[in-house]
Symmetry: C2
């Protein structure tokens, strides 16, 4: 446990290591992915739709931190797999509401489990202390940027 009681690392060094670690972890998962599973961006978008209820394309794009055209594209892919549906808004003819289908809900749960399966296995091999560090880190990482950006 080299960091215990050690001089705290500089923010830049921490950022650098975290960046590198995130890249490598995601690359591992990408490889383990594929087969019948959803890609990370699709899975991530689908999760938001499932959990945050029906929401507009723009809201979804903002939540996922991508541009609207990118989200249009992602939604089209999910729609063609019948995982979400597009609904016109009653009050505003410009907006499109995205809603998860039952098929989308089931597949999200399964796909998510499959995609992180390899990671889950590795986490299982860690000590309770290490797991707790990762759990806390995940929370910190999600809260790094203020809610709206």
């Amino acid at each position: 446990m080299s960091t215990h009681r050690a001089r705290p690392a500089a923010p830049a060094a921490i950022a650098d290591r975290l960046h590198s670690a995130a890249i490598h972890v995601l690359r591992r998962l990408r490889r383990a992915d594929t087969a019948a599973g959803l890609s990370a961006p699709r899975l991530s978008a689908l999760s938001v739709v499932v959990f945050a209820g029906p929401l507009t394309l723009g809201q979804l794009a903002a939540a996922e931190q991508v541009r609207p055209p990118t989200m249009t594209h992602l939604v089209r892919a999910l729609e063609s797999d019948q995982l979400v549906i597009r609904e016109p808004d009653q009050h505003d003819g410009r907006v499109v509401r995205i809603r998860a289908t039952p098929k989308g809900r089931t597949l999200m749960a399964r796909g998510r489990a499959r995609r992180v399966e390899a990671l889950t296995d590795r986490v299982r091999a860690l000590s309770l202390t290490e797991r707790s560090v990762l759990a806390r880190a995940a929370g910190i990482m999600e809260r790094l940027w203020p809610p709206d950006g």
Copy 2:
């Protein structure tokens, strides 16, 4: 600090959150990137070449967890920017050694700093405890998978 003294989270839940957090952090950085900087994959590959000395394309691909054709592509891009050079191996005519140029070394340091600048700013805003959690997490993440496989 909700996880303090709380029942430890299931490995699958931790994996899931970490996965999601990694995606979102990297997306933020991608946005802040561009201008005169190297993309994450190029920067990552260049770093390995700089730190791990000259190494073959295959070794580099393995280190970066991508397929050889992908690495061929990345190396070509780095080469055309004169950040690395390709050298034929004396003993084995099939292998190609990749070596960082001085220009590559300088640009790596600068590019790395620039790319993680936004993240560094956010880390600076954290408490010492939180920073230490992230630092430890980065180390754990890098060591999740055994060295070679």
